[in-house]
Subunit: 378 residues, 2 copies
């Protein structure tokens, strides 16, 4: 079996396989081709890949490989050059017609992490979770480095400075990791999510749960569903005073397959103290915070006419921690490969619930368009 790791397109900093995982695969008999410079932005050198048993190539001959492991969705042009029946593992992104057509035309077996079931057996393959874990950590650093105040309580001869107050909205993997990181740095943390189990999870990581008094609901995949607009308004009203009193607001809420829910209005941001920081992890999918822009800092003037709040729209928070994010992603790829390969041969068993979920095209069939299966959020 031959597996290829392409250079990711700019601005992606991550790489699908890291040398440590390449070593495990080559020892198991897999031939691994790595495009020169593929790991460079994630701090992995060509020499490390070669030492791990990979063959370095200037450009992968896509027609000569069995599997392509990638991070960014493969462009239609690349899919069209793949060998008939080849397999791809990575993020698939939104279903763009030309990509789907290219995959179907070449009878590609395309696996999309976005559609992996959220079962315990699938945990080791769950790239969305591993990258959300990285993103949650990263959010807190982005906030702390912009805040003109301490996160921890500072007791010195020059007086005592109280700890920063952090509010986290959306308590999935990213939100829990944001809470844990903010707590590590010494902040006092409050959090909210509309999923039924979230109150207990929030408390288990040392934060206070903000009860917004709305009917919480959960979709089949373990993700929060959209709220009705009257519930959403009630939620905003309940959150507003907590946000106004916070030094830092971090939002990580996503609803599967839809634009991110708008949890926070500009008025709610403008009520915060001058110098406060808002980090919107969902900026790239529409934003939890009104006016956030992916990859940019937006200054929102404070309501009382003095100073501003910085709204940080994150674009690729996991990509900012490229080395460790790639290591974790590579472990996810390896785990998923483990499910596909039997005796050195690829065998796609669609009776396996994980593969049934994660395989989006196979043998010329668009399995997403033909199934009533809830997609996974990005």
């Amino acid at each position: 079996m031959t597996l290829a790791v392409p250079r990711e397109p700019v601005p992606e900093t991550r790489v699908a396989l890291v040398p440590e995982v390449v070593r495990a695969l080559t020892r198991g008999g897999t031939r691994v081709l790595v495009e020169r410079g593929a790991g460079a932005r994630a701090t992995f050198s060509d020499a490390q890949y070669a030492e791990a048993g990979a063959e370095l190539v200037d450009a992968v001959d896509l027609d000569a490989v069995d599997v392509v492991a990638h991070v960014s969705p493969l462009p239609a042009a690349a899919l069209g050059r793949l060998r008939e029946g080849a397999l791809t593992i990575g993020m698939i992104g939104p279903p763009e017609p030309d990509r789907v057509a290219a995959a179907l035309g070449r009878r590609i077996t395309a696996l999309g992490f976005e559609r992996l079931p959220r079962t315990s057996r699938a945990q080791a393959m769950d790239a969305l979770s591993s990258q959300a874990f990285v993103a949650g950590y990263r959010c807190v650093l982005e906030a702390a480095v912009r805040l003109p105040r301490f996160f921890p309580l500072a007791m010195t001869a020059a007086g005592t400075v109280p700890p920063a107050r952090v509010v986290v909205l959306g308590v999935g993997v990213a939100g829990l990791q944001a809470i844990a990181t903010a707590r590590r740095l010494g902040a006092v943390v409050q959090a909210n999510d509309i999923r039924p189990d979230s109150a207990e999870e929030v408390r288990s990581v040392g934060a206070t749960f903000i009860d917004v008094g709305v009917d919480r609901r959960e979709a089949s995949g373990g993700y929060a569903r959209d709220l009705r607009e009257d519930d959403a308004a009630r939620q905003r009203a309940a959150l507003a005073p907590h946000i106004a009193a916070a030094d830092v607001l971090i939002t990580t809420a996503g609803v599967p397959g839809r634009p991110a829910p708008r949890l926070v209005t500009t008025d709610m941001v403008a009520a915060m103290r001058p110098g406060s920081v808002v980090v919107d992890m969902a900026a790239a999918t529409g934003g939890n915070v009104e006016g956030s822009r992916p990859g940019e800092d937006v200054l929102v003037p404070c309501a009382d006419g003095f100073g501003a709040v910085t709204v940080v729209g994150l674009d690729s928070p996991a990509g900012a921690l490229a080395a460790d994010a790639s290591s974790m992603y590579a472990q996810n790829v390896k785990a998923l490969l483990g499910l596909l390969v039997r005796d050195g041969e690829i065998a796609v068993d669609l009776d396996d619930d994980i593969l049934d979920g994660v395989v989006v095209t196979h043998d010329g069939v668009d399995r997403v368009a033909h199934r009533a299966q809830p997609p996974r959020p990005t």
Copy 2:
């Protein structure tokens, strides 16, 4: 008594007094004049100062005030406009002839935090310590936000990522706070300082002491002295393997009144892994790290030809946390004022050891030039 707080010149972000301290002073009968916008970059509004009892003015009439509280050294022009015999409290910077001449010409009583004795009684007035405390925290954030890896141990379904390894050189107030912050974030920390007590201090904050086997020495003010060159070479040789194995190196070493000691050569930096980060807190005073430049990130290519190490030259690390840094600075100013004011009148008692140290010009005398008193580091 009338006390003035000027707007600090750009790029200073801090302000000498914050509204909370203004309130305490005005309640005690002091008239406080604050230049409009003085606290803006530190997130304090004119309205907050007014509410605390200050009078807001467009520009302070320097000839009409008894005391000026400042952060940046006052320029000669400002000193020359002060009322004869007025008092100034702040950082004095290096002894520039025109500033000294202006202070002597107006018979200014100039107090410079840099020359405050390091006694326990002076702790509450110690602005160098309070700002170093802020700087030490800040150093770690500057490193963490640039590192492509986690600080904490990350145990996930996608494998375990070991914690970052951080080395801190120079273990004064800033170094200890850097250690504490890196530890909070979950890093494994090693540290070194040539002062005799530093090993115990390092261990007390949870780090491992790197013994470099050189003769440690201490100057009268509790600061490390210069090493002889052969000791310095031995120190570098002993540190090199620890630095090469580190993800993050933070240097905070200063020697009173001299350029910062050069602890780390470019070769030592180039031996670190690609993506590693060096933060040089002493960049503005000559640098502990060869090639660091204040206010800039310098990329040092790794020795094995792949990747680079980022050397972050900090310029004003405390200024980056302007709100809390100003609050602590203001407490220091207030504490020092408490030593100067008796029954609402200023009384400079040079028999008091603190005032004897901190007063640099008085009654037309340059007390620094006429004393064999060790200066304090910046």
